[in-house]
Amino acid sequence: MSYIPHTDLERQQMLAAIGVPTIEDLFEAVPAKYRFPKLDLPDAMTEMEVAAELRALSEANDNAQDFAIFRGAGAYHHYSPAAVNHILLRGEFLTAYTPYQPEVSQGTLQAIFEFQTMIAQLTGMDGANASHYDGATSLAEAVTVALEASRHKRNKIILSPYIHPHYRAVTRTYHQGQNLRIIGDKAAAEIEDLVELLDENTAMLAVAYPNFLGQIEDYKGLADKVHAAGALLVFVANPLALALFKSPGELGADIVVGEGQPLGIPLGYGGPYVGFFATKMAQIRRIAGRIVGETVDQDGRKAYVMTLRPREQDIRREKATSNICTNQGLMALAATVYMELMGKTGLKQVAELCYHKAHYAAAQLDALGGYSINRNKPFFHEFVVKCPVPVKEINEKLLLEGIIGGYDLGQDYPYLKDHMLLCTTEVNSKEEIDTLVDVLKEAQP
């Protein structure tokens, strides 16, 4: 099948219309030695051959559905109801990108508006944008807002070491060359330790909720201390956990960011995922990304628009504070369908299942004797297990049983060598958990 719609005759006609003899003449601006390089491409394949090759490639990977998965660490194996894909695969949604003539795409705008609304409700914030690429990007953008809020008079950013390691790395990459001091996460640090670092040069302090180790830390009083220093408090949150725990808004957050993957988006070998960004009214004009608003047209009918446009690159141009002028539309739609399908009750139920299964698993492991569970703080659906042998060894044994074991924390936190981050979700059955425990029991020396 040809993907180029023009016939030779049409090409001739177009060239004649613009007064250019041949197509090659259009590339005159390219230096001669770089024009039309020899491309060493293989021969074209038929659709049948391509399908076979892609199938072979995909079969080189194991499929999440064939395994019991006990690993989270930022990407969670939840059940995605059939309705999600059913709506996502509609051509109107699947191929349309972020609308450039937005008001013509009322359906798209409405879906985004609903996404923003639910995210704002979950996080306890005043407003949210249309989404970012992923949780890591959202955190990086929060830093931009904090710097703007301080009118660029402050350049210190405090990050908890228990924010996802990837998010912290991306934040540093994003802001390189900006003369920022991003501190607080090199060694183990409790909330009190982070508070010690606050001074009149701090633009922002960020914590995770739950944190990378699955824990719910004690955030009481944190907001007051951060605000007293004139800085913004940012929470990096798991949206599913928010169905069970106090919203960051109630804890005094100024901005809440995080990864929306737990909301009905499959693991997908790492993506696409979706970042969310919610904020109090005070910062709304500083945030990046698209924002959809609800209004009425001249006949009084409800209508959706892209709003707060002068923040954006197309209008603000060289004064724009971010290069982000897009969103992760399809994934935000998936999260929207999921949240609306599950509703407040359903989301809470999923969160409770995750919580209880994790606590069941922890109790079973406690009883083995060779493993010790970190119970210093309450945990949601992930917890830290100190193992009697290296995590790698245990995971190899688990794999033979069709189980993907927990995350080896030693690779990110040297003081957590031989510690495994174990996760359970609503998808893990009791039988799977019991099998996991049996294998871990066998793995004891």
């Binding site: 004009r285 446009r309 002068p310 923040r311 209008i315 004064k319």
Partner: protein, 129 residues
């Protein structure tokens, strides 16, 4: 189109005006500016006490079609900001030289009147743009 240019004010080519009374300066944007910007929806104001140099950006005026920076016509310390603009930014459209004032400053250093245009010069500038 004749834009208002009150004679008792001084102007910048970047469309700011200043009313100098003793060492107090009241600053805003001109009728020409509000006309170009169209409906103003938001004004970002500086903090009281901020020390600013002539030519420094001190505020931002946002309309549905643009976000425009506002620059100091004189050097000074901010003594008052027009907080009414938070709820009624459209005052800049309806009364740019009166209720639409943006900040008041205590003028520091020379008012440097040479680089400021008078009403006639500014009106001329607007007509040739």
């Amino acid at each position: 189109m004749a834009w208002k240019t009150p004679p008792d004010l001084k102007y910048l080519k970047s469309d700011e005006w200043v009313r100098l009374e003793g060492d107090t300066g009241t600053i805003g944007i001109s009728d020409y500016a509000q006309d170009q910007l169209n409906d103003i929806v938001y004004v970002e104001l500086p903090d009281v006490g901020t020390e600013l140099q002539k030519g420094e950006r001190f505020a931002s005026v946002e309309s549905v079609k643009a976000a425009s920076d506002v620059y100091m016509p004189v050097s000074g310390t901010v003594t008052e900001v027009n907080t009414a603009l938070s709820d009624a930014p459209e005052r800049i459209n309806s009364d740019p030289f009166g209720e639409g004032w943006i900040v008041k400053v205590k003028v520091t250093g020379d008012a440097d009147n040479d680089s400021l245009l008078d009403a006639e010069q500014y009106a001329e500038w607007c007509n040739t743009r």
